[in-house]
């Protein structure tokens, strides 16, 4: 294994080349080629990410930040290299502002708990949108239940966009925090997050951005966005499960008390006194997910090795093509029709439940999601208990859209 970090050259986007990097895409289900259209739930992994995990355990595994021995130093170096890769990926000013967490859910819970503990009290207000995933709702509900905080909701328009007038009107002098998705996992809507952050700052509130979906498709620059916090998970970004990232502005993070207590997050522990370590380690108690952190670095390397503009254009073509084919089917209603959306299509079929549709489509080898997508407020908003959802990744192909449309058409006939 080489000790140097090789920055791979950016490749021009070619879907066949990308597909060849993902071993699982060549498998079959029910004797048919797998058509994986559940990428918003979790993406498949390229060979380089899989290799990063096995190579860590094969060659350079030891606990990090602790040992004075060779292997521990090497593992620590790789772990911190991964942090630097993530920093560069989101253009955070310093590595200290990149915290490895157990996932995006863990990251948001960290902020709600640690920031909320000292800064959000009875009657203080938190603004959320109706588009949020439960991971960006439930941690704030804790503050409502435990501290008497008030949740205010930004409504969703009929096309799946947020109501920006209502957003501005939701602020009061008591608004402490705004927690918003950058791209809805349920509908695909992309929110005007930069403008919404600017407005929140004007009103004196901090902003947490849920970038789980957007980070996969769109360039993220936390300095340009000027967000106070940004969270995303590894597994949607072609990386491993069990690892996520929380970016926070250094001064805000330093003002927060630790989230979990344990090893590696302290400076000095005495019988009656404790001094905490500086960020990011203050928020990384216990042995971290070492191989997963190294592999999220590999995932970032992978994504940045590909022409991201080309990948995004490709995904948008799939989105447009699938949307057009689906609108030719009379029984299908697409929920979330704004042109400002990423490659996610949520839909319902007249006369059949999303569960029925997905069960039948599954038999064609097509994997899609049915359910409330852990986003019940937005399901309620559109008056449906659940939807079916197709979500594209850069490795999906146009002929997979055709396979899906064929499967959808026969599923519709099945329930006529």
């Amino acid at each position: 294994m080489s000790d140097t970090i090789i920055k791979p050259e950016t490749r021009s986007f070619n879907v066949e080349e990308v597909r060849a990097d993902f071993p699982i895409l060549s498998r079959e289900v029910y004797g048919k080629p797998l058509v994986y259209l559940d990428n918003a739930a979790s993406a498949q992994k390229p060979r380089s990410v899989i290799d990063a995990i096995s190579s860590t355990f094969d060659h350079e595994y030891a606990n990090v930040h602790r040992g004075l021995h060779y292997l521990s130093n090497e593992a620590t170096q790789k772990f911190e290299d991964a942090r630097e890769k993530v920093r560069a990926f989101i253009n955070a000013p310093t590595e200290n502002e990149v915290i490895f967490t157990g996932g995006a859910t863990d990251a948001i819970n960290l902020v709600a708990s640690s920031f909320g503990e000292d800064n959000i009290g009875e009657g203080d207000e938190i603004i959320l949108s109706q588009l949020e995933h439960h991971s960006n709702i439930v941690p704030w509900h804790y503050l409502r239940e435990r501290k008497g905080a008030v949740l205010k909701w930004v409504p969703v328009l009929d096309n799946g966009e947020l109501d920006l007038e209502a957003y501005e009107a939701a602020f009061s002098p008591r608004t402490k925090m705004v927690a918003l998705t950058h791209m809805s996992n349920a509908l695909g809507s992309i929110t005007p997050i930069k403008e919404m952050i600017r407005i929140a700052h004007e009103k004196g509130a901090l902003v947490l951005v849920d970038a789980c979906q957007s980070v996969v498709h769109l360039p993220i620059d936390v300095q340009d966005l000027d967000c106070d916090f940004l969270a995303f998970s590894g597994h949607k970004l072609y990386g491993p499960t069990g690892i996520g990232v929380l970016y926070g502005k250094a001064d805000v993070l330093r003002s927060m008390r630790p989230y979990r207590g344990g090893g590696e997050m302290i400076k000095v522990v005495e019988m009656d006194k404790i001094t905490y370590a500086d960020i990011p380690h203050r928020f990384e108690a216990g042995t971290p997910a070492i191989a997963e952190a190294i592999a999220i670095g590999a995932a970032v390397d992978y994504v940045t090795s590909i022409d991201r503009v080309g990948a995004l254009n490709h995904e948008n073509e799939l989105l447009a093509y699938a949307t057009q084919r689906m609108s030719e089917l009379n029984a299908v209603r697409i929920i979330g029709t704004t042109p400002n959306k990423g490659s996610i299509i949520s839909f319902v079929v007249e006369g059949a439940h999303p569960h029925d549709i997905s069960t039948v489509i599954d038999r064609a080898g097509v994997a899609l999601r049915a359910g409330h997508h852990c986003a019940q407020p937005v399901m309620d908003r559109f008056g449906v208990p659940a939807t079916s959802r197709v979500s594209f990744a850069m490795y999906n192909r146009k002929d997979e859209v055709d396979t899906f449309i064929e499967a959808l058409s026969s599923a519709i006939r099945f329930f006529e």
Partner: protein, 140 residues
């Protein structure tokens, strides 16, 4: 309809399409629950489709038996519930607890529907049926 009849019917159905069509037919024949019966109490936790189960006890015999009625907003799930009702409804507590639904569903080629997949209310429904039976036994 008996379990034996179901097993026979399924034995004639070769491919998944025919099996699902049959399951959907079974669901269509199921008496729907009224709006009053579809309550938070009768609702069985399921992520994708909504599932309800209404349990009634019959203590007239020496051993308590349980009668079940169920419903779902999804066609396939309604049909699968119909099968569960054939297996369980009207049986005594000890009969209910002795049933191995996975084996029977496997015979029908429907075993994937009784996996611990969270999105499938059916797995939870079997749990509810067994818990109701155990609770009925404890009452006596």
């Amino acid at each position: 309809m008996s379990i034996q009849e179901l097993i026979e019917d399924f034995s004639f159905l070769d491919d998944w399409e025919d099996r699902y069509r049959y399951v959907i037919e079974l669901g269509k024949k199921l008496d729907p629950l009224t709006d009053d019966e579809r309550t938070d109490e009768t609702k069985v936790l399921g992520c994708t489709s909504q599932v309800w189960l209404v349990t009634a006890l019959d203590k007239s015999d020496s051993e308590t038996s349980l009668t079940f009625r169920g419903d779902s907003d999804a066609h396939i799930v309604r049909g699968l519930i119909a099968i569960l009702l054939v297996l369980y409804s009207g049986k005594s507590v000890s009969e209910i607890l002795a049933i191995e639904p996975r084996e029977i569903f496997a015979q029908f080629g429907l075993n994937e529907h009784l996996s611990p997949q969270r999105s499938n209310g059916l797995f939870s429904m079997v749990g509810r049926i067994r818990a109701d039976a155990a609770a009925a036994a404890a009452q006596v």
